[in-house]
Amino acid sequence: MTREPARGRLAREYLAGLLTAAPVGVAAMPIGLVFGALAVDKGLSPLEVALMSFFVFAGASQFVAVDMWTSPAPWLLLGVTAFTVNLRHVMMGASIGRHFQHFGPIERYAYLYFMTDEVWAFSEKRALEQPLYPAYFAGIATLLSVSWTGWSTAGAILGTSLHKPERFGFDFIFTALFIGLVVSFWRGPRTGIVIGSSVLTAIVAHETLDGPWYILIGGIAGTIAGALFMASEEPRGQ
């Protein structure tokens, strides 16, 4: 590592990222354990589970993939499915990219590898309050990458002894986590309109279309609603 003049600041930012993400590291335990157990049920080995969690690093799409896993693995179908489930990343990247002033032009593509929903949501929130530094992003990413890979591998090793996760409400933790993240973005009634538009369109899309399109359609509808409402409400001075 090269010596930076602002090393103390770097360490502080990194630590702040780790601490911010710590609750999600805890949430990753039940989710990861359940995922690992499901994957082993479908014929994946613990090592393969570890590789998938580290290299794909996208919980929702991994659950969908494992659900449709057969032997031999239909790799093209799984790749295309991961692509569609994760299409929301395109919108997320366009949004967070606006706050990458402190990220190098090449460096940012390395950081983007770690852009999960949670890493992104925390970074967006940080950018609302102060400049977003790579060290902060790296702190969140480290904690999530290690905990997600670790817990899902543990789930794969423990395997079927973990059946019936719903007894402990484990299957709802992912939803609770996202609810907490959504509320952390609450800025008054305007946010309610965005949420309402997203929910309604996602419901319609989920009931009429096969596959994960409801995520993209709900996301786009909520985004448009936010843009329209904000434009008619007030000319924002920034």
Binding site: M92, A94, T175
Partner: protein, 100 residues
């Protein structure tokens, strides 16, 4: 510990597909001018996407999930994230016992 070639290929395909989605937005941003309207759209985006992801579980699964989701949302206005997760898990367990 074993590694199956087809499994490895599938994991690789998923990883590449996912990485493409992660960088595509930033690449696109280089060719788009950020008007105020696009800017406010992008500001609304986090809430819109996160909401859409959980909509089926929260509103299309059953009364227990919907109610637990609303309780969790109320808790989220008061509690730190870890407390929110605890409330979420506790309320879904209780509500499933009570109303299935």
């Amino acid at each position: 510990m074993t590694i199956d070639t087809a499994n490895l290929l599938a994991i690789f395909a998923m990883a590449v597909a996912t990485y493409i989605t992660r960088i595509a937005g930033v690449v696109l941003l280089r060719y788009v001018t950020l008007t105020p309207r696009i800017r406010s759209a992008l500001d609304a985006l986090p809430v819109a996407v996160l909401t859409a992801v959980i909509t089926p579980v929260m509103f299309l699964t059953g009364p227990a999930e919907t109610l637990a989701g609303l309780i969790t949302a109320l808790a989220a206005f008061r509690l730190p994230l870890l407390g929110v997760l605890a409330v979420g898990a506790a309320s879904i367990v209780c509500l499933r016992l009570l109303i299935g």
